[in-house]
Symmetry: C2
């Protein structure tokens, strides 16, 4: 079953479709759930967790109208775990742990479940573009199906109980992956960050440290989970992200009007370098891919689809490069193989 799950490859969220997909790469909803009568994952003992893992595996795989694939994390090597992280199917923490733990994924990778991460269950819906309502409908169906078979830990006053109090209540986190090169180039990204924080949204760089990730990709998520309905949280999130999308678009248009040649030159050079380089770090690759993505949306780059670009974003990462090679590689070897893969993938 493990190879089947790993062989899945490219999730639907990479299609580059859905509303606002010029700015929003993907929308994600996750619910934290725990099972009544078992201690939280953080305090559980090995026998108990082994039993719980088997119980949850059986419940997930027997869900009607679902077709989950399963992997026990202990059966996966470091490269295989890293691939699942890069595909956004498991967290870095889940990959790094060593107790009994599992992951379930539906083909297309829209639905995923981490088992025995910080909570017993972390349900995930991941879709292309910005559509929180759609993601919530999917999540609602998944969690209802599971709730019919699994007694979730729930308290009348607090709502769903979670290992960490920041998740208690709805157990809901909504997040979106935004491509914000316009706000970065025009030096407004810090302002966007501060504005989001004021309304209890967190913005952080994806793939890469520092205030400007090479990819210009940022993740925004809600920080409040208690005292509001799921529908309210989703609607508010959608509204906030739509505002950032409008801001980013306006900035892009302004840049296009004022610095067209420069943007065209940058995107075009990035294309030339990706087509020709013989060695490249993942950070540099992400930077070129970001410029190309902007170029595609501004109509400055031809013959390259967003779906293809998204797949490349995934494939240049260290885990995928090593999977391709079939073995662990040192960074220099990875950089050479990455450049090779890029030459193969570019138009």
């Amino acid at each position: 079953m493990i190879p089947t799950l790993l062989a899945q490859g490219e999730g639907e969220w990479l299609q580059g479709e859905g509303p606002e997909s010029d700015v929003v790469m993907s929308t994600r909803i996750r619910l934290a759930r725990n099972v009544q009568g078992y201690r939280f994952s953080t305090r559980i003992e090995i026998g108990e967790s082994q039993e719980l893992l088997g119980f949850l595996r059986e419940k997930i795989l027997s869900l009607p109208d679902r077709n989950f694939l399963w992997a026990d994390l202990r059966d996966l090597g470091p490269i295989e775990r890293q691939i699942l992280v890069e595909r956004h199917l498991i967290s870095r923490e889940h990959a790094a742990g060593d107790g009994p733990r599992g992951v379930a994924v539906e083909p297309g990778e829209k639905l995923g479940i981490m088992v025995l991460e910080e909570d017993h269950l972390r349900l995930q819906v991941l879709i292309s573009g910005l559509d929180v309502e759609k993601a919530w409908r999917e999540m609602s169906a998944l969690s209802s199906g599971l709730a019919e078979r699994i007694p979730f830990a729930w308290d009348e006053r607090f709502g769903f109980l979670t290992a960490c109090p920041t998740n208690v209540g709805t157990g809901l986190r909504v997040s979106a992956m935004l491509h914000l090169p316009g706000l970065v180039i025009s030096r407004q990204i810090e302002k966007a960050n501060q504005t989001a924080q004021k309304i209890h949204m967190a913005v952080r760089g994806l793939y890469g440290e520092g205030s400007r990730p090479a990819s210009d990709l940022f993740q925004i998520s809600n920080q409040v989970t208690l005292g509001r309905t799921e529908a309210d949280l989703c609607a508010e999130f959608q509204e906030v992200v739509e505002k950032i999308v409008a801001w980013e678009r306006e900035t892009r248009n302004q840049l296009l009007a004022e610095r067209r040649t420069e943007l065209e030159d940058q995107a075009s050079r990035s294309l030339g370098i990706l087509e020709r380089a013989r060695t490249m770090t993942s950070e540099e690759a992400l930077q070129h891919l970001s410029r190309l993505r902007l170029g595609i949306h501004l109509g400055l780059v031809e013959n390259l689809s967003l779906a293809k670009l998204n797949r490349i974003f995934l494939w240049v990462q260290p885990g995928h490069i090593q999977k391709e090679a079939g073995k662990a590689l040192d960074p220099q070897e990875r950089d050479i193989l990455r450049a090779e893969k890029l030459r193969e993938l570019m138009p």
Copy 2:
């Protein structure tokens, strides 16, 4: 006659052929000559220089077995003069002057004559690769032919008299244009420079200021013109340049053994950027072309001939870009047209 001379275009010295052409782009010999009974160009008066110009023009154009094309510099605009500078047919000083002055060039641009530059006549032979003896034979034939028709200023003690004492005697300057990326990358270029100076050879960067010209092209020339025969000066020069060639080759091979991936990556990226950029300064273009030239000689770049690369070296320069456009352009406009031309010329 002017359009004919300007339309010539690409000199034989750009063919990338001849001995040691992996390092030596071209060999040049020039002779300074003045006409008896006229004051030096630096002190001449307008009526006298007008008369001398007509006299020399007639002598040059009537040389038997020669086919010189003629242009009066006063008939040429700034862009046309700049093109002649970029083709190494006239000096910057000759282009900048405003008195009566001319230039004569044979098709193929191997033989050229500046008339009323610092000296009344500056004869030039410019050939591909390193072959001082061949260049001297050509020069000898040209100067003899002229000497039969023109009484050169000559003194028994000093030899040929010249406007500047540094040229007196033979009036000979031998120079070669060397591509020395190996010595630059390995930080030995300063040492090469000092070694050359010790034996009275001058080394200076071509196209670009500073100790490292973007093109990695250097011109080496003899500084002694007095008290030696022309044959001696030529033989010594050939010997010195051959040593530098051997040094550069050895360094390239060492770099290839130690840093192959890096060199391959640099050459290949330069190719990608030249193929794709939308705006580029001439300095940046020269840098990429230098990396490609090295790549060709190390066998790291395919499908690109040295002759083609040499032509591109010429065509990316400001005068040629503006000639192509048919009008004067500001630097930003030139950079855009240069990138356009590069996309057209690259394989």
